[in-house]
């Protein structure tokens, strides 16, 4: 019978790829989020509009009397997604999952511990971005695809898809666009403060405030209301027209795309500067 050495041992096994390390952070962050009942409740609440839309599809098919004013067109998916932004589900989910994502790590010392490991700052960012991105998709892309399922199961033809064959692609692209936009922005706000609350307040103020303050100012000066591209939510809704191919009905959709891209680049710049700075690593 051998004697076993229980003192400090070296590790003999193999090493994983770089991406697996980001995914480890993402998985842990996600599982911590899902442990919070309030977050699950929030996700459920964000699905209430989905039920309403499913009902709309059902009524349009089975209640002939209603078919005059309840119709199902490609417009339904665009409206559903923009309303998820306009009536705040996307904002709330980004706030909940993202505002504290980096700030808590800065205040709890976890950031320094992560970065002392063999990962780059981008790997770290990826690990933090994936959960927020996924959470946003859970209230945008996932329900939008589910509505296709409902539509196909109740309709006896492919009506909508015949007139707009690219609709699924539009839905996917626009959802990813919203997800990317809010993820990058909320994380940029999050990395600026060591307090999740402060970061959350800053995020809400900028996301909602930008539109409200601007319209208020314009109204007070008796000027026409400002272009949608100047408010975060307005721009997000306006940009949908580009993805769904009805540019003419938008306000200034291309300008909105440019405004959103600029904000994302600015956020990326902030993240790069801040995560790379010496002061957060102390």
């Amino acid at each position: 019978m051998p004697l076993h050495d229980l003192s400090y041992q070296r590790f003999e096994g193999g090493r994983t790829e770089q991406l697996a390390r980001s995914l480890a952070i993402a998985r842990m962050t996600t599982s911590l989020l899902l442990k919070r009942r309030s977050f699950l409740l929030l996700l459920c609440a964000c699905w209430i509009p989905v039920i309403a839309r499913a009902a709309q599809i059902y009524v349009a098919r089975y209640v002939p009397q209603a078919s005059e004013f309840v119709t199902v067109t490609a417009r339904l998916w665009q409206e559903f997604l923009t309303q998820q932004v306009e009536y705040l589900p996307v904002l709330l989910v980004a706030l909940y999952a993202g505002a504290g994502a980096i700030s808590t790590d800065l205040s709890s010392g976890a950031f320094v511990a992560y970065l002392s490991k063999p990962i780059s700052r981008f790997d770290y960012f990826l690990g933090k971005a994936i959960p927020v991105f996924l959470a946003i998709l859970v209230v945008t892309l996932v329900p939008a695809l589910a509505l296709f399922g409902v539509y196909l199961s109740v309709a006896n033809d492919f009506g909508v898809l015949e007139t707009a064959p690219l609709l699924p692609l539009s839905v996917i692209a626009y959802s990813l666009w919203i997800g990317l936009y809010f993820t990058v922005f909320v994380l940029a706000i999050s990395c600026l403060s060591r307090s999740g609350r402060v970061a959350g307040a800053g995020f809400v103020a900028l996301a909602l405030g930008s539109g409200i303050v601007l319209s208020g100012m314009m109204a007070a000066l008796r000027l026409p209301s400002p272009p949608a591209s100047l408010s975060m939510i307005g721009a997000t809704i306006d940009s949908a027209h580009v993805f769904f191919g009805n540019v003419s009905s938008g306000d200034t959709p291309y300008l909105s795309i440019v405004a959103m891209t600029s904000l994302m680049l600015l956020s990326a710049f902030v993240l790069r500067r801040r995560l790379g700075s010496a002061e957060v690593a102390s």
Binding site: L6, S7, Y8, Q9, R10, F11, G13, G14, R15, T16, Q18, A20, R21, A24, I25, M28, L32, K35, T104, D105, S108, G109, A110, V112, A113, Y114, L115, S116, K117, P118, I119, S120, A278, A281, S282
Partner: protein, 308 residues
Amino acid sequence: MTLLRTHNLTVRYGNKEALTSLSLDIDAGVIGLLGPNGAGKSTLLKTLLGFLEPSRGSAEVLGLPIGKSGAALRQRLGYFPERPVFVPGLSSIETVALAGEIGGLARGDALARAHEVLWFAGLGEARYRLVEEFSTGMQQRTKLAMSLVHDPDFVLLDEPTSGLDPVGRRQMLDLVRQIGERGVSVLLSTHLLHDVESVCDSVVLLDKGKLALHGKLSELKQQPGWVYEIRVREDEPGTFRKALAESGLLIEEGRDGQLRITLEERPTRFLFELARASGAEIRHLRRFERSLEEQFLSAVDRDAPRDS
């Protein structure tokens, strides 16, 4: 084997030069990193980890240049930060396993290794509890496990015994010693010179961003000549001292009621005779070693204004 080599390394921190043209050549082993506040110890650690970029000069750790090597170098480094570390909502075992995964271990390996290093760090059943609720001692053990979980070849420990009571401190130092015995090099940054004396082979002393002293501990402590510390138990205090003085020996006051005497050779029966004649009994007789503190205080500029 060279562990760490820097050449004219200059690093700015904020608007101040924290390391100034530092050139070092350190061999593998357990090394004490000392210096007054603001000497640049933490800056050196952060530069080695790639958190700070040198404005001039270069450094090589384990044969890899810092900066460029980034992740490849950190794969072989472990870091024990001074400040507390926790992930809200995670138990000690989850935290260490996560650190292992980020350190490049597969999920199953990371969990097994996390249990192993936490066991080694002496955390026992507490490893299933939340780190944020831990006492200082248990937090320090968790941090040690986090720094070791991905099996580094070189660990940087920043004040690992701070906030520990004597029992915890002794255990922590014992762990550091064991890590060193397994061939892992250690850079121990601390204010407690006694900790360095008890576990380190060599010492690096920084002052105002520059190297003030570097050498093997045994050589630094050696006092030339035959200087001995002696303590006696005597019927009448002072008699023995007088007898020593009368015999023409050089006497100084030592620590803890001891006398420091300079002999011409190793002690002989002469001392014992002298003791008996003056009604004393030798209770302690030992070759005098210079203390690290003495060397520290003479090597640094004591009157410099200090910040940070």
